[in-house]
């Protein structure tokens, strides 16, 4: 065995399989890889295809070495590093493409196959939806078929594909067991490169004109909610996110957050219980219905009633919450904290003047608020996704000139005006509303449901929610974005409400997707413990899981072994009966020799055990008629079985 064995050369059909596999695996990468790499790989594949077509010779070694060096240098120049998700994937793509250029022996073929498997995994870095899984599955069948073709060049493509599908189907139970029971470790195992979570969208902790309306163009799902009991009415569905109180004249920012130390205020009745499945957004905050009382494990609730996780949310997470929609917070707010909600930037003089005027004219603070809302309602303000650009004094411009804006414009102007009128006010961002999916009874909240509203602090009452957008476009709150914006504005396709059959399909698809997210993608260590304890494992620690996993895999292997050893025994029932007779007589040492004919056997048995002469002769005669004569049918066969069963053999002591 020590002797180095020459790996057999590849047949042309095997090369074709490998090429097809590589193309299939590399194709989805075109979307994410740098453009130059995509182009280079495409050319390499075309070149390799031409070599195959013309049965030309492969490029020399020095050229390959050069190509590897050049490609690696290109990747380094693109990413400025080799470590990390994107450069790693790029290197894999490069190696796979170049390996095809030195595809000579079966060993090279195996290397290509393994690279393909690896690349298949990297596709999940970008997306893990059902459709991605389906595509990966198809690719897996093809790659495995190619691997099978390496094992045997002579069989047809259909046979390879069938074998591959069969083997993967047999592997599926193992996958299920391992998936459920393999002790999960919460990643990451080491510090991730900075680029790991690029490309996640969601609210940020800063708001400037246009930031939320941009987000509203996305139909992506922000989170899903499952309520215990009825879904509350829409006007209650304010999902609280970052609270912004610092204003520099253009952009609102959140201040430093402090944990709320006092125990949760649970005085009010009518608590709503629900569970949220939050899509990753790479930020600390979690969303909750106003106002949450107890933070989920690993999170806190701040003084501003934001729920904050200890680490950024980088994978889909599920948490349970309880909220009190009637609760009004901040009755005991300190003066210092209130002062931080009074700061005003120096600009926007017209608004300040107007607010000053209202304060003077109105008796109390509530009147000022009403005045402001009436102003929005009575003057010709428009709610639109495409507001005009604003300049230096953005709030002045909006309130007096353009009068067209999205929720962030209204909230921002309102809060500014309130502060100018001497009322503590702040901006709350988050989501409003959501869409009920009748298929699985989840409430789906999308990025397009992103919203900004205001809170004002009134002496003796606390922080009260005021939604200026509702004054301008009450539909936004009651019926969602689509009915609030004027017709003709660009909306995410999925948010449009005017195509009902499409909605139906969408609901179903999203229900499937949701369970996919819940059960497949959201199968985290916590979820695993939950599921296993629900399945009856008392203490699902890693030892118990491993033991159960090994046992189940052992069972599966046993089953497969039985399948592998299964012999096809479809004997004539007459012969089966005859064999039973032999087994019966074997107890007294008179088993039939396998070359012994029936008459001889009967004779031998009769000689050895004269008392068996009679039954043996009858059995042999019937057997001979059935097997060698013209007798046929069910009845005589049953008679034979009966005779054999009835034969009594005295076993000597």
């Amino acid at each position: 065995m020590a002797a180095k064995r020459e790996s057999p050369r590849l047949a042309r059909i095997q090369e074709l399989w490998l090429l097809a596999c590589a193309v299939l695996t590399l194709a989805p990468d075109a979307e994410h890889a740098p453009a130059w790499l995509t182009a280079a790989v495409g050319m390499t594949l075309a070149w390799r295809g031409a070599i195959w077509w013309r049965t030309a010779t492969l490029p020399p070694r020095w050229l390959l070495t050069f190509l590897v060096a050049a490609g690696s240098a290109g990747i380094f120049l693109t990413y400025r590093q080799f470590f990390g998700k994107d450069p790693g994937v790029a290197l894999l793509i490069l190696f796979l493409a170049l390996k095809l250029l030195e595809l000579r022996s079966v060993r090279d073929g195996l290397a290509v196959i393994f690279l393909c498997y690896f690349l298949l995994l990297t596709h999940f870095l970008n997306a893990q939806g059902i459709e991605v899984a389906g595509l990966a599955m198809a690719a897996l069948v093809a790659i495995t078929a190619a691997l099978a073709s390496l094992g045997h060049a002579g069989r047809s493509a259909v046979e390879h594909l069938r074998l591959s599908a069969l083997m993967l189907a047999q592997a599926a139970p193992f996958m299920l067991v391992l998936f459920l029971l393999f002790p999960r470790v919460q990643g990451p195992l080491w510090g991730l490169p900075v680029d790991a979570y690029s490309g996640m969208s969601g609210l940020s902790d800063a708001m400037s004109p246009g930031s939320i309306s941009n987000l509203s163009l996305s139909g992506e799902i922000a989170f899903r909610v499952r309520f215990e009991g009825e879904i509350p009415p829409k006007h209650i569905l304010y999902w609280r996110g970052p609270v912004l109180r610092l204003f520099d004249g253009r952009t609102w920012r959140a201040g430093a957050q402090q944990e709320k130390v006092s125990p949760p205020d649970t005085a009010t009745s009518g608590a709503i219980r629900y569970a949220i499945t939050l899509e990753p957004h790479n930020k600390h905050w979690l969303f909750a219905l106003e106002m949450p009382d107890v933070p989920p494990p690993g999170a806190i609730i701040s003084r501003e009633y934001q729920v904050l996780a200890k680490t950024p949310v980088r994978s889909r997470m599920r948490y349970e919450m309880r909220s009190h929609p009637d609760f009004v917070s901040g009755a005991d707010e300190s003066g210092a904290s209130l002062r931080s909600n009074m700061n005003l930037s120096a600009n926007n003089p017209r608004t300040r003047a107007l607010a000053e005027q209202w304060r003077r004219e109105s008796g109390d603070q509530e009147a000022v608020i009403r005045r402001m809302l009436d102003h929005f309602r009575q003057e010709s303000f428009f709610y639109t996704l495409t507001p005009p650009l604003l300049g230096e004094n953005s709030i002045d411009q909006f309130l007096f000139d353009t009068r067209r804006g999205f929720c962030e414009h209204f909230a921002s102007a309102f809060v500014f005006a309130m502060r100018a009128a001497g009322i503590p006010a702040r901006i709350v961002t988050g989501y409003q509303g959501g869409e009920h999916n009748p298929v699985d009874d989840y409430l789906i909240v999308r990025q397009s449901d992103a919203h900004a509203w205001a809170e004002v602090w009134l002496e003796g009452k606390g922080w009260l929610r005021v939604d200026p957008t509702a004054a301008v476009a009450p539909n936004r709150i009651e019926a969602g974005l689509a009915s609030a914006v004027p017709a003709g504005e660009p909306l995410p396709f999925l948010v449009r409400t005017d195509i009902s059959w499409l909605r139906q399909i969408r609901f179903r698809w999203e229900a499937v997707n949701n369970s996919w997210n819940q059960w497949v993608l959201g199968y985290t260590p916590q979820r695993q413990r939950e599921v296993l304890s629900r399945l009856g494992m008392r203490e699902p620690d890693w030892k118990a899981m491993t033991a159960v996993m090994a046992a189940l895999c052992g069972f599966l292997l046993l089953g497969l072994t039985a399948w592998a050893l299964h012999k096809r025994v479809r004997l004539d029932p007459t012969v089966r009966a005859w064999n039973r007779l032999s087994r019966k007589l074997a107890r007294i040492g008179l088993a039939r020799r396998d070359w012994e004919g029936p008459a001889d056997y009967a004779h031998r048995v009769a000689l050895a055990r004269p008392e068996l002469t009679q039954p043996m002769a009858a059995i042999a005669a019937l057997y001979i008629d059935l097997r060698y004569g013209r007798l046929n049918g069910k009845e005589p066969r049953q008679r034979l079985r009966g005779l054999i069963a009835d034969m009594e053999i005295a076993v000597p002591r």
Partner: protein, 315 residues
């Protein structure tokens, strides 16, 4: 080395030639991952680390599916070999230096085929074959021969990596076979001693040499003297008359008549050459060796008997 060999004998149950048919039951089929299989496992490990690091739930699923695939491949490879039935087949005698072919009968009772199974005799070349469903396949295993006498092929190594090259299943069988190896005919031997004196010399038999024995279809190389012209006259196709006993010369091939300076093998080698020549010329011949004498005779059986005597001389 001795201990290793005996351990191997114990481990693989190698107890000498086995009675046919040899059924490869599950106890004698061994499976281990190939180097590619180990690389596959290592790649899966690497992929698992990646999946954990990036929390790729689908990545876990993929890796576990591929793990399952590895296990399934193990059983598929095992299944490809197990329950095959092997019986020894024909073995043609050969001259030393030629390639002996040991035929094996491979019975596949399964409804599916078995694929890419390679067979190898120690010292021989590996031969690979597919077994079709529910059928017997014959395969010839080549083994170079060096010495005359009985050649025992020893054990056959059966091996398969089908279907995924990740696992190697193998088994050893030792079918009860042997091949009679005749001495190598001398390359440039003196001519057949037809004119030797005494009883060992050639003698004309009293029989007629032109006994008509039958007709066969004419071939272009046949002498026109032997064409059955009568048949042609009856408008039958061209036929050639065949004769037996065309040359009933007797030759005694005698060990003791050979030059005394030849050693045993050289003598056997020369006698073999002469025997082949005598048989080719259709002579009647006998063979005399120390301790063995084959009486005068003719034909295939006589030829075989003489060759056998030469092959087994002194053994």
């Amino acid at each position: 080395m001795q201990a290793v060999a005996s351990f191997k004998r114990w481990l693989f149950r190698l107890y000498g030639p086995e009675a046919a048919p040899i059924v490869l039951n599950q106890r004698r089929v061994y499976v281990l991952p190939t180097r590619a299989g180990l690389v596959y496992a290592a790649a899966l490990g690497l992929m698992l680390i990646g999946a954990i690091n990036y929390n790729l739930s689908l990545g876990y699923a993929l890796i576990f599916l591929l793990t399952g695939l590895g296990l399934v491949a193990l059983l598929h490879t095992f299944r490809n070999l197990v329950q095959m039935e092997i019986s020894p087949g024909r073995v043609e005698s050969v001259f030393a230096g030629d390639m002996a072919h040991f035929d094996l009968q491979l019975l596949n009772r399964r409804k599916q085929g078995r694929f890419a199974i390679s067979f190898k005799l120690e010292g021989g070349r590996a031969v690979s074959t597919d077994l079709s469903a529910d059928a017997t396949t014959t395969i010839g295993l080549p083994l170079p021969t060096r010495r005359r006498g009985w050649l025992h092929p020893g054990r056959v190594t059966l091996e398969t990596r089908y279907p995924l090259c990740l696992v190697r299943a193998w088994s050893y069988v030792e079918p009860d076979m042997r091949c009679l190896v005749y001495p190598r005919p001398e390359a440039s031997a003196p001519p057949l001693p037809l004119s030797a004196t005494g009883e060992s010399g050639g003698a004309r038999s009293g029989k007629g040499t032109e006994d008509f024995s039958g007709l066969r279809t004419h071939q272009p190389a046949d002498s026109p003297r032997h064409v059955a012209w009568k048949a042609v006259a009856r408008e039958q196709p061209l036929l050639t008359k065949q004769f037996t006993g065309a040359s009933a010369v007797q030759v005694w091939l005698d060990w003791n008549e050979l030059p005394p300076d030849l050693d045993i093998e050289a003598r056997l080698s020369r006698l073999t050459r002469w025997l082949i020549d005598a048989h080719a010329q259709g002579l009647a011949y006998g063979l005399s060796l120390p301790g063995r004498k084959v009486p005068l005779g003719q034909g295939a059986r006589q030829f075989q008997d003489c060759l056998e005597a030469l092959a087994l001389h002194g053994g």
